[in-house]
């Protein structure tokens, strides 16, 4: 019966649901997962890469990054969902950030950026007749007023601030692990280990390698915000360490 109310994005079903928005979220739960954890030292973002093939030319422009993007000097994001939709949203994020900087000569507060994007996402659920964006984003940022912040937004245009969260495939089991293992005063290193552990449990493969995973951190270095995407060479030893820990846990358990 509700099939009749699927095709128009901007009307409610009789049960009071917006089906297109829900279908968009369905699309995202089939996409590569992303995990984010907020600590006092900064934010760790981890993501599962779906496009893995040795034929990929990783030096070509546009292919280098699949999941993590820098929006401004003080804000970065990880995306889950339809990549082409994500590109549009990221461009909008960057534009809004620069417009604010041009007008006020100060970096945009992170919550204002998130709210701006979410307001435009909401538009696609209410008028215009175009489908919603099939993307959820994790925003990691720092501003003078609130320090380090982690936000999550979804196709409905809702957003929230989180201490730890995940989006994409298996996000509910990932969030479950985060709920039990997250501690208030984690260091950045502990958070990174937890992010990798969560990814290894929610991804199809048990051992992680740099080709399958993207890890980044947003921290302060010498009073300047620093967004670092870990290169393969940095990533390998960290992944190996977590892999062997996970293996030990399995052995002691069995």
């Amino acid at each position: 019966m509700s099939r009749r109310y699927d095709s128009r994005t901007t009307i409610f079903s009789p049960e009071g649901r917006l089906h297109q928005v829900e279908y968009a979220m369905e699309a995202i739960s089939n996409a590569g997962s992303c995990v984010g954890i907020l600590t006092k030292e900064g934010i760790v973002l981890g993501a599962e890469k779906r496009i893995t093939s040795k034929l990929l030319d990783t030096k070509a422009v546009g292919v280098r990054r699949e999941k993590m993007y820098k929006i401004d000097d003080h804000v970065a994001c990880a995306v889950a969902g339809i990549t082409s939709d994500a590109n549009i949203l990221i461009n909008t994020c960057r534009l809004q950030s620069q417009r604010y900087l041009l007008t006020y000569q100060e970096p945009i507060p992170v919550d204002q950026l998130v709210r701006g994007i979410c307001d435009s996402k909401q538009g696609y659920t209410q008028f215009g007749g175009m489908r919603p964006f099939g993307v959820s984003l994790l925003y990691a940022g720092w501003d003078r007023l609130q320090g380090f912040q982690l936000y999550q937004s979804d196709p409905s245009g809702n957003y929230g601030g989180w201490k730890a969260t995940s989006i994409g495939a298996n996000h509910s089991s990932a969030t479950g692990i985060l709920q039990s293992d997250y501690e208030e005063d984690m260091t950045l290193d502990q958070a990174m280990k937890l992010v990798i552990k969560v990814l290894s449990k929610t991804m199809d493969s048990t051992t992680l390698s740099p080709e399958k995973v993207e890890i980044s951190t947003l921290t302060m270095q010498n009073e300047v915000v620093n967004f670092k995407i870990y290169e393969d060479s940095d990533l390998r030893p960290i992944l190996d360490a977590v892999n062997s820990e996970v293996l030990k846990e399995k052995e002691t358990a069995s």
């Binding site: 007008t103 000569q105 100060e106 507060p109 919550d111 204002q112 003078r144 007023l145």
Partner: protein, 193 residues
């Protein structure tokens, strides 16, 4: 001719303006307060074309208030100054606002700041500034007297000396002036000369 002057101290900003509102050859009123509060800790000192002066200031003030309501936090003085400059610049090549202004404010995180802005959307951050014919007399005097560790009393005496100079040397000097100060507690009227 309008007169505006500003002095920045280590933990305060002092602004002064004359209080005449003039329409061609007639003085309409002698108690026009041209030091307009934008929020609890920021002042605009405005001069220029009568309608533009008030209209522009109210427009900026309304936007600053809207920002505060939308985002739950006040804009910094630097942000307000740059936003104002931006508006002047956008209007410049369509229908310019003929107003010069001084923007003074106090922020928790960086203390006092003082900006000079003219109708062509030029903006400078300065320790001492002035606008109008009177500024020619006052700037050189302030250059001599300004120090980094000015007290409020020093700055007030400096401002009074400046006003005396304008009154005695400028042929069309306005008769009355008002002086206000902004510090961490907000805006106060110091004197009416």
């Amino acid at each position: 001719m309008d007169f505006l002057a500003g002095i920045r101290g280590p933990d305060f900003v002092m602004l002064c303006s004359d209080t005449s509102a003039v329409q061609s050859i007639v003085t309409m009123k002698q108690d026009e307060d041209k030091l307009v509060p934008i929020d609890s800790h920021k002042l605009f000192a405005i001069s220029g074309e009568a309608g533009d002066r008030v209209n522009f200031t109210e427009f900026i003030a309304a936007n600053v208030r809207l920002y505060a309501f939308r985002n739950g936090v006040d804009l910094s003085t630097k942000a307000v100054a740059n936003f104002t400059r931006n508006e002047l610049a956008t209007a410049l090549r369509k229908s310019p606002y003929q107003t010069n202004l001084l923007i003074g404010g106090y922020d928790e995180h960086c203390g006092p700041s003082l900006y000079w802005c003219d109708y062509l959307a030029t903006m400078h951050e300065q320790n001492i500034c002035g606008s109008g014919y009177g500024s020619y007399f006052v700037l050189s005097l302030f250059d001599k007297l300004w120090r980094k560790d000015l007290t409020e009393a020093d700055a007030l005496s400096m401002m009074r000396k400046g006003i005396e100079e304008v009154k005695s040397r400028l042929v069309v000097a306005p008769p009355k002036y008002i002086i206000k100060i902004i510090d961490k507690n907000g805006i106060r009227v110091l004197d009416e000369v």
